[in-house]
Symmetry: C2
Subunit: 467 residues, 2 copies
């Protein structure tokens, strides 16, 4: 049928757009039926107009922002103590995951981790003392994200904790993250028992100096290279890090052996990294963070640079809206729960680890890692579909991070808040699940779609920021 034939025949129209368009057709006497479809998100109409009228400017700004993100070259260049390297870090400041939050609104696991950190720092002797101090106003709280840092789950960083220093060689900015403690009863899931504090002390005194010397010996470790390979090896470097951790281990092991004070110190560090594949998560996160931070403050850009949860609120920041947070209620993930626990025990979604999704990894790359979906009862096809959905809301495809089973297609990268609103699809996120009460720890792992609220607010905030 040629294009002319189309116009010479009676039209039969299936209208999948706004109902008002169908009404026009009805008035013209054209035979039309209305397709049932997901309505767009209920957004302020002035914001829609403003964003629409700036389409070309935003497209250009997003292209620039995405290019900066994709150009990022995250390198592990060293380790140091938080207080010495994190900007404006100090003894009475505790960093946490997600958007800003005060003690009185903090969820159980975050409170638990704050309690643990105050005991670890020697600022409190007991849990009761720690609670009192935390609520006294003498301790300040701030988001990791506002201090060039990221933290998984509760994301607590205190002054004495050792941190990885990850430098974005393409832009010169850095990001920080603590060292991963392992699974089970750990601070980041809100546990603060003596064993938790003891492990943190060993990490400070046993793990940190050895690993610091090893990285010093190596000069730097190319994290982008490791992550790219890991995606070819079944990881999405959020909930699955087995390949990335293996490659990291192989890279640092000889330097650990060479620089450790003795055989026992070397073996204990190697055993610790070998015993916990999530060790690499605390490297994939700052690797993502430093690439995203380089694209901050690009006027009109609708690219999402931060998605982070404090266990109460889910917060979003855009390239085009500076340091402003847009927040909404954090949801409880669908999860596989450890024996003895149910969804009723679960805290809402928590942690800065969604920084991996923000850079095109994690849930966005889950087609590279179907084992994660299988874990919560899904199939390999489900994993494909989740990734395919994310192409719908991203500005482009990754130039380095690829999915073998999509014939090495680049992962969906650079969330465009306009597409989130227009298509009514929110980012898909892999996550761990913390018990909602302080002091318990991890109760499961799972997946979820982000809430729409913060993206709606970000969309409207971007419109307001447009001159």
């Amino acid at each position: 049928m040629s294009i002319n034939d189309l116009f010479n025949k009676p039209l039969k129209v299936i209208n999948a757009g706004l109902l008002s368009f169908r009404e026009d057709l009805d008035q013209l006497g054209v035979d039309a039926i209305q397709l049932q479809w997901k309505p767009p998100v209920d957004v302020d109409s002035k914001a829609i107009e403003k964003i629409a009228s700036n389409r070309d400017r935003t497209d250009a700004a997003n292209a620039r922002a995405l290019n900066i993100v994709l150009e990022g070259k995250p390198m592990l260049t060293g380790l140091d103590v938080a207080e010495k390297v994190i900007p404006r870090m100090r003894k009475n400041l505790i960093l946490h995951s997600g958007p800003p939050i005060a003690w009185d609104r903090m969820c159980g696991p975050t409170r638990g981790a704050v309690i643990g950190a105050l005991i670890y720092e020697g600022m409190a002797g007991t849990v009761e003392e720690a609670k009192k101090l935390a609520s006294s106003g003498e301790v300040e709280f701030a988001p990791c994200h506002e201090h060039s840092a990221v933290g998984p789950m509760a994301g607590i960083v205190s002054a004495s904790m050792p941190v990885f220093i990850v430098e974005n060689e393409a832009h010169g900015n850095v990001a920080f993250c603590t060292l991963n403690e392992g699974l089970g009863k750990v601070l980041r899931y809100g546990a603060y028992a003596p064993e938790v504090i003891q492990r943190l002390k060993w990490m400070e005194e046993g793990l940190y100096p050895v690993l610091r010397s090893a990285v010093e010996r190596l000069g730097k470790v190319d994290l982008k290279n490791i992550i790219a390979q890991a995606l070819h090896m079944g990881d999405e470097v959020h909930n699955r890090n087995r390949a990335a951790n293996s490659l990291f281990y192989r890279t640092v092991a000889p330097a650990v052996v060479e620089t450790a004070p003795n055989k026992e110190a070397a073996v204990s560090v190697l055993d610790f990294i070998n015993g916990n594949d999530h060790f690499f998560l605390n490297l994939s996160m700052p690797a993502a963070k430093c690439c995203l931070d380089a694209a901050r403050n690009i006027p009109c850009s609708s690219l999402v640079l931060v998605m982070a949860r404090n266990g109460t609120d889910f917060g979003v920041q855009l390239a085009g809206t500076g340091d402003k947070w847009f927040t909404g209620e954090a949801l409880v993930p669908d999860a596989l729960f450890f024996p003895g626990y149910t969804k009723a025990d679960a805290n809402p979604d928590i942690g800065d680890s969604s920084v991996t999704e923000t850079v095109g990894l994690g849930g966005f790359a889950i087609a590279a890692s179907p084992a994660i979906v299988q874990f919560v009862g899904g199939t390999a096809e489900d994993a494909f579909q989740y990734t395919m959905d994310m192409y719908e809301i991203t500005a482009g495809e990754n130039n380095v991070y690829q999915i073998p089973y999509l014939n090495f297609r680049g992962t969906p990268t650079g969330i465009d808040v306009r597409k989130v609103i227009e298509k009514n699809i929110t980012p898909f996120i892999d996550t761990g699940v913390a018990h909602k009460n302080p002091g318990v720890g991890q109760v499961g792992a799972g997946v979820l779609s982000a809430p729409m609220e913060p993206f709606r607010k970000a969309f409207e905030g971007l419109a307001r920021a447009m001159s």
Copy 2:
């Protein structure tokens, strides 16, 4: 349409089987067209009758054989020197890959590797002396496969070489394999330059004692577990071993550090394993071999237990035909050649590494490892298709080795020579490519389908063996 409707209407038939069936339809006046299809292999008709009349016995024998193969538990239990552990190994015996072959019919790379081995053993001082000795009749040659061993490419094993000892814990039998030398100019590709001999000496004096002590410390290393994980991480453990080698490295590194005589010895061993991902190939091969050997001598079984090439002949052994070899001409693989080389430089297919395909890995599991197909210009879909084709000729599916992107379906395992003949599909094999001349080394890597000839002969041999 109900089944009754089918018989009340005129039939339109597409005949995809034997032409004689269409001729019957023609006589009945039924409208039929003939589908073009691959004709079955030209096999002796008496053999076909014999095999057909024993179908149930063969099915039962294959079920038993496959079960033995799948039950196999390959464990690395130690290292030793070939002469001390390989049955009937002695100073003047050299083992090679593939079916039996005399010096005068050996291909270039096998001759090159024999020359290198004689120099390495101190039995010859020069290349000329080695050639003279090799052709004198004073040196005996035998297939690795006949000595519970396997060798990649030329597969040369001489008396002083250190070997891995892999025990099948389910059945008590063992298999042996030398240690992988790395890439480039190496003995297994037919190179024998001084650097090649020097590396073999270091492997004997530097690598072997350290690794032996480390494995002694560990007791044993579960190879089946590592291989199963590696398939979830993009390996097929024939041409790609990056994940398996990483997991092996993590397993042995602390023991290497603990047992090595000093830091330098430990680091040199770790660097060597880290520098060559094919290091694990020489473990995946004996792991496969010891599982397959346990299923030998099961009367009437048409299961293939050996596929091996000596660079001249491609040889096959069946569970139902004892130690008899069935051979045919080895083919030249489709390959990606290193710069400066073409297919004209390539030696025909060589090595025992097709033992991996025989146990359901390598080319049979290539859907788990699409990067290999991409390497030779194919797509992820091609990789799927190769594996799907192998389900057509196998007796079952693996119970442990799985393919994530087939929703964790078990790999096609246990080649049934009846299906190979009936469907005219030969096994798909990943392989390295050696230069056809001695002394050169590797020139590429690629894939190929096995020749039909040895399978046709094996089919006829099985018929003869049936009482």
